[in-house]
């Protein structure tokens, strides 16, 4: 058997299609990797019995028509999976097993994929380091003391450590792109409405979007194609024909105009990040693209806007976790109100409580206009900034994050500095447009740093093509020695 640690999702797909390897062999390989990687704590739940059964079932049926034939995949524990525990990284859903399957994961299984397990994440996807998970820290394979980013930290960790050939995450303010950047992997946040939200535990409904996390751009196109698609069960889903991202993937960027927003050159940004950004610009120039200086004047307001809109929606979305119908219920309390207070007090972690409080506050009568309504207006301005820029350029290049992976505990007592991590990713969610993070290089510590390509709404193909071109030129290699297997 070939060393699947060296293979991409696309390569494994071809190996299975050409019958060089069976789904069962691939599945067993990844199960072995997962079992040797307990130290990383990337998984909350594994379901190997089902994985092996599904793999055998696939091998006996030999239906290779799907995009992901017999491919074992682990997914973020924010996707509801039928008969498999779904926790959202929270104590309040510690023992919650859905009777239904999310539309996005259902799309994956329909394309032939089989489930390996559920990946760790920040509680209700609220966090940038995976440290808010009730199920403990997930380790970045890059270094024992490094966070994998968040909220899709378990997904990024498992992917970088090759515990799954690819994975999916969700991105509300950067939760796919930032962990991808921290782990030297590829992550794409699609246009809002491209992937169904049905069956994904909601954080902030107007911002949440599922997306692929992969080893390279080619895999990213393949997985995006598999997971996306119109869903009448989600009223915000976009009704359009499925794109063939894989087939249309190419390296022709000649004549494309790439915008460089001056507002993203922020104070105190490490020089190394600037260097990597400039390197990216050079690559694009050499590939025949034109670089255009642009301005996104309301960028400064993106973070405060996000931290009003997202908690507001979250405070309402999380009201359903009240101990009445499912999930954790406190045994303490003399009446209904006390039961609520104790259930939510004991069931939610600090960060979730912080955001529920912020959200409740900004929606309160007397404060609504000053906060929520104002934030919605600014959100429109931020979107207009992008709309204006995209009249001049085809895509925008920025760093993915203002720093590389940080250490555990480094920012836990300083929420603001934690929130600042999302400064380059958040505007994209507010505007509802797509963006991809690809590895741009390593910093002096040997930690990966990502570059972000932002595209027009529903123009994932263009940023995938640019990303592919840059990926070839950058030729990034993660230096991971599988230290956790000892």
């Amino acid at each position: 058997m070939s060393d699947l640690n060296q293979n991409t999702l696309t390569q494994i797909t071809n190996l299975i299609k050409t019958k060089k390897i069976s789904s069962l062999e691939v599945t067993k390989f990844f199960i072995k990797n997962i079992e040797k990687a307990k130290k990383l704590n990337s998984f909350i739940t594994t379901c190997f019995e089902k994985s092996l059964k599904d793999a055998k079932n696939f091998d006996s049926k030999k239906n290779y028509n799907g995009l992901l034939p017999g491919i074992p995949l682990a997914v973020k524990d924010l996707f509801c999976t039928k008969n498999i525990k779904t926790t959202a990284g929270s104590k309040i859903l510690e023992n919650f097993t859905p009777s239904y399957e999310s539309s996005v994961t259902n799309n994956l299984w329909s394309e032939g994929a089989i489930i390996l397990g559920k990946l760790n994440c920040d509680e209700f996807a609220m966090g940038s380091s995976n440290e808010t998970s009730y199920f403990g820290n997930t380790i970045n394979p890059i270094g024992k003391n490094l966070v994998p980013g968040g909220s899709s930290g378990g997904s990024a960790s498992a992917l970088a450590a090759n515990l799954t050939p690819a994975t999916i995450g969700t991105d509300t303010g950067g939760s796919i792109r930032q962990p991808a950047s921290f782990t030297g992997t590829v992550g794409l946040k699609p246009t809002y409405g491209l992937c169904s939200r049905w069956g994904i535990v909601a954080f902030a409904s107007s911002l949440d979007q599922a997306g692929p996390m992969t080893k390279n751009v080619e895999d990213c196109a393949l997985l995006l194609e598999a997971m996306s698609g119109y869903d009448p069960k989600d009223s915000t889903s976009i009704n359009k024909k499925k794109e063939k991202y894989s087939k249309n993937l190419n390296e022709n960027v000649k004549g494309l105009k790439i915008g460089i927003p001056k507002e993203y050159r922020i104070d105190n940004m490490p020089k190394e990040i600037d260097n990597i950004w400039n390197k990216g610009i050079d690559i694009l120039k050499k590939s025949g693209a034109t670089i255009v200086d642009i301005s996104l004047p309301h960028t400064n307001y993106a973070l405060p806007t996000y931290y009003i809109v997202a908690p507001a929606e979250a405070s309402s979305n999380l009201a359903r976790y009240d101990g009445v119908k499912y999930g954790y219920r406190s045994k303490k309390g003399k009446n209904l109100i006390e039961m609520y207070e104790n259930t939510r007090g004991e069931g939610f972690g600090r960060e979730v409580k912080r955001r529920v409080l912020i959200g409740t506050y900004v929606l309160s009568s007397g404060y609504y206009d000053a906060y929520y309504l104002k934030a919605q207006k600014v959100r429109k301005l931020i979107k207009n900034d992008f709309d204006e820029s995209f009249k001049k350029v085809d895509a925008i290049l920025t760093p993915s994050t203002p720093s590389s992976a940080f250490k555990f505990g480094e920012k836990t007592n300083d929420p603001i500095s934690m929130y600042l991590n999302d400064i380059f990713t958040v505007p994209v969610n507010l505007a509802g447009i797509p963006a991809i993070s690809i590895p741009g290089g390593l910093d002096s510590k040997g930690y990966p740093m990502g570059l972000q390509l932002i595209g027009k709404a529903l123009d994932e193909q263009t940023i995938l093509n640019i990303a592919l071109t840059m990926e070839k030129a950058i030729n990034f290699k993660n230096s991971i020695n599988r230290w956790w297997e000892n």
Partner: protein, 494 residues
């Protein structure tokens, strides 16, 4: 006619005290359940009376990751209702979340419409004894119903039934244009009638399909500024609404006349004590933290959609009333009685397909209503079907039976449900209209009472009635009275 009535019956509902006449100002928020097989945002059934928690989807019970999808039919129903209220239809409207915690509210928020409702201002016309009066409609919006908490099954537990959770309601808010319990009675009945005509709300108050929050304030007669109002929550019968208003208005007047002020608050009507009591004060009022539901896009309706519904709108009570008056020559009173309930007008129109209009209207308003009232049943469950009533009326029109016999037949119809033909046949009640046969009976009577014939001929003409009675007795009431009259006259002249 109307003018005359106005002179006769002047509006006169004031709370009268030694010092003042107090005017009562009332506004209503009616919650009307939309007629629809499935709920507002899920495919679950809305049928009444199902076993607890058997009509609940994952959306209705707010499971993680579940999303609402608007039921287009409910939108259509709301627009139709708006058109029926002569109201402005808002082509753009927004669904908001109204956030509060309660055990029977699974999501922790109710999806409703706050600042941008689907229907704007409209009006309803009331026929009051003192003339017609227009009541303004402020708005109509769509919202979900909550589930039901059941507190009395166990001393320690509350049970929750989510069958109602997510059922579509229309909240119809009136302007503060109502001035008496009678006007409220008339308003609710008219609103219900319009919605029944449209088929948008069945108006069944026992099943909770129609209930109202009643806003009451008082002011001295002649004042133009409104007083502080209290809201009486969730009153579920017209009778209770009238009682609640009367008692609440008197409470407010007593407070004001004793120099106290009214606290704006939410109150409940205690149906046993027949008075309102405080539920929560303004300070305790919920902060619902309304904001647009991000799971739902703003609702956009095409103008053509509205125009189409407008074209298909059925004839409404006011139009039907006008038509009845013009076309059938009915009095406004009669027309009103026949149109106020759609089932009555349907019954009437069915009968007059084959029977005489004048007889039909009288038989329905007098005889049939008496039976329905006595038995406390609705016209759609009437033991006498429209077809059978038409048959009976035709038997009268064609002279086969007299009005008196017809009443007998009708009573049997009520008891048995049989058709008039069958009863007349079985009981041999058909009118005797053969002149030879009638002549025979008359001769028999005149022979028997020859002395009285002499008295008649010598001038005691009053005896004519006696002879008629005797003839009818012998014929068991079946002899055609007109023929009896004619032949008797001829025979007595001989």
């Amino acid at each position: 006619m109307v003018g005359k009535l106005m002179e006769k019956d002047k509006f006169n509902y004031f709370i009268k005290t030694e010092k003042n006449n107090w005017e009562v100002i009332i506004g209503l928020e009616v919650h009307a359940q939309v007629v629809s097989d499935s709920k507002l945002f899920s495919g679950s059934s809305t049928k009444f009376g199902g076993k607890p928690n058997t009509q609940v989807s994952l959306v209705d019970s707010a499971f993680p990751g579940m999303l609402p999808v608007i039921n287009e039919y409910c939108i259509e129903q709301a627009v139709k209702t708006g058109l029926g209220l002569n109201a402005k239809i808002n082509l753009d409207s927004i669904f908001d979340r109204k956030n509060y915690f309660y055990a029977d509210l699974p999501a922790g928020y109710q999806i409703s419409q706050y600042k941008n409702p689907i229907v704007g201002e409209g009006e309803i016309n009331l026929d009051m004894p003192y003339g017609s009066k227009k009541i303004g409609i402020e708005r109509l919006h769509l919202e979900q119903d909550a589930g039901k908490s059941i507190h009395d099954l166990s001393p320690d537990n509350t049970y929750v039934d989510l069958n109602r959770s997510g059922v579509a309601l229309m909240e119809i808010v009136s302007k503060p244009d109502l001035r008496s319990p009678e006007e409220v009675n008339s308003y609710v009945k008219k609103l219900r009638s319009i919605m029944r005509y449209l088929g948008t709300c069945d108006g069944n108050m026992q099943e909770g399909s129609l209930r109202a929050d009643v806003n009451v304030s008082v002011r001295k007669k002649g004042e133009t500024k409104f007083g502080t109002r209290c809201e009486i929550k969730n009153v579920n019968s017209i009778k209770f609404m009238e009682m609640a208003i009367d008692s609440e208005a008197k409470r407010q007047v007593e407070l004001l006349e004793s120099g106290k002020s009214i606290d704006q608050e939410t109150r409940l009507f205690d149906t046993k004590k027949k008075e309102t009591r405080s539920m929560r004060s303004k300070e305790e009022a919920h902060d619902y933290r309304y904001f647009p539901d991000p799971d739902l896009l703003p609702l956009k309706i095409e103008k053509s959609f509205v125009d189409n519904l407008k074209k298909k709108l059925p004839e409404l009570p006011d139009q039907k009333k006008d038509r009845y008056i013009k076309k059938f020559n009915l009095s406004p009173y009669e027309a009103n009685v026949l149109v106020s309930e759609i089932d009555v007008s349907k019954f009437f129109e069915e009968v007059i397909k084959t029977a005489d209009i004048k007889l039909a209207k009288n038989w329905i308003i007098v005889e049939l209503f008496a039976v329905l009232n006595e038995k406390n049943i609705e016209i759609k469950n009437s033991p006498v079907t429209p077809k059978n009533l038409a048959i009976l009326i035709n038997q009268i029109s064609s002279g086969n039976i007299s009005g008196k016999i017809a009443k007998e037949v009708f009573d049997i119809m009520v008891k048995t449900g049989f058709s008039a033909d069958k009863i007349i046949e079985d009981k041999g009640l058909k009118q005797q209209s053969n002149p030879e046969e009638i002549k025979k009976i008359i001769k028999k009577v005149l022979d028997k009472h020859s002395e009285k014939v002499s008295e008649y001929k010598s001038g005691k003409v009053k005896l004519f009635g006696f002879f008629i009675g005797e003839v009818m007795k012998i014929s068991a009431g079946k002899a055609n009275p007109k023929l009896v009259n004619e032949i008797l006259k001829t025979e007595l002249k001989k």
